[in-house]
Amino acid sequence: MWILTFLGFGMACTVWVLFIQTRARKLRSGNWDDLVAQIQPMHMRGLEIVALDHLNPGRDQLKLEPAEIWALVGGTEGLRRMEVNADLMVSLAAYVRRWNYEEAVIVAERIRHDAVQLKQALRKLRRASLSASNQIKAPFYIHQAAAAYYLMTKRLINLYKANQYMLYPRLAEVL
């Protein structure tokens, strides 16, 4: 029993090390075209509606039904894409360091903070989906995730708009 636990633990650590090395290499190989090409399309209009409902509440704050919120962010696939794109946006913000070091460092940190909020919300959402009693919280977590993602895209687009007008149009198009 001990040896099985030990081997299982060792194998898990080895797989984790390989994952860490692969991910670290990917983050280092910051080819702008490759990063942009990896961004997965999102239904931004729907996401914006959900995000603004959370960030800028209007008079009727219950107008969006849970099923509608779920559909607007693109369901499970939309949430998965948000998570993938979040990591790419951090790398794209860090890329601007070569033109405006100080602003890029600060904005990249803010985007990283948003990415952490997004991932936390998605983690809570996955946990909530496992138990029937917690599923009522799901719309709150989707709101949080959508708001974090929306802020990330706005920060990134404005960073490029201010510092790299040549690359800005292509980035705005894919986001």
């Binding site: 040896i3 636990t5 090390v17 670290a24 100080e102 460092v105 990283r112 903070h113």
Partner: protein, 258 residues
């Protein structure tokens, strides 16, 4: 103590590789950034010299054992410091801890320490003597701790999308290879006993350490792009930003749990 020709050869080549790495770290001034790593390599060099002396001057078994295990304890302490040093470089890229990085690292690290302690405690050592049994457990714990702390550091960093610079990346690659080999060799010792190809396993570990040491010497010899530094004002702003977001996050967390 009688050593085979192969054992002497491996010992000598390990010493040469470590001395070469130490020279690289000192001559290229890498010690300014990697202080604990340099201290660990310097300790290995001195350790080899001391043991050459002890073996060839026919020291008593008691003295040899005392120095051997004292050196193992210092070695473990320095290894932990090297992983913490890597964590400091990777998780504090602009001089302040990236939000959640320290917390993630400490949580994963503590979980790793706990698992290593439990697995070492429940292991069945082969030594009949109680002290030797605890020493065996200590070696196993040390091998597991080194790998687990590295995993905790790497996971905390990549989870936050932090980019590793050339030297720390090279150090991490070498460290992970060596830590994985050490982990499985110590596990095999512990489960199968030192009589089951114990010398062969030890040689696998020594050769892997030599290859990693040579790799480190090359990596640390090569230059890396100059690091740009934030102005003091921006550093202060970034520190305030981290604190502010940290505070907001903890407030949000406490509200969520009400």
């Amino acid at each position: 103590m009688q050593l085979t020709l192969l054992a002497r050869l491996l010992w000598a080549t390990t010493f040469c590789a470590q001395a070469a790495l130490l020279l690289v770290l000192l001559m290229r001034e890498r010690w300014r950034v990697f202080r604990f790593f340099t201290a660990w390599i310097a300790f290995q060099v001195v350790d080899n010299i001391v043991f050459f002396y002890l073996v060839y001057n026919h020291s008593t078994a008691g003295l040899y054992k005392t120095i051997y295990w004292s050196a193992e304890v210092i070695d473990l302490a320095l290894q932990v410091c090297v992983v913490l040093e890597m964590a400091r470089i990777v998780l504090k890229p602009t001089g302040t801890w990236v939000r959640d990085a320290l917390k993630n690292f400490l949580l994963l690290g503590l979980a790793g320490v706990l698992i290593a302690a439990v697995l070492s405690y429940v292991a069945k050592p082969h030594s009949a003597n109680s002290l030797n049994a605890w020493i065996e457990r200590g070696s196993l714990f040390s091998a597991m701790l080194s790998l687990e702390l590295f995993v905790a550091m790497g996971a905390a960093s990549t989870n936050l999308g932090l980019v590793w610079r050339n030297h720390v990346m090279g150090l991490a690659v070498g460290w992970s290879v060596w830590a994985i080999v050490d982990f499985f060799v110590e596990g095999a010792y512990s489960y199968l006993g030192p009589n089951w190809h114990g010398i062969d396993l030890d040689q696998v570990r020594i050769i892997s350490l030599q290859l990693v040491t040579i790799y480190w010497a090359i990596i640390f010899w090569l230059p890396e792009p100059e690091e740009r530094i934030l102005s003091p004002e921006m550093r202060r702003y970034l520190a305030a930003l981290h604190q502010d977001v940290q505070l907001n996050a903890s407030r949000t967390g406490s509200l969520n749990h009400r």
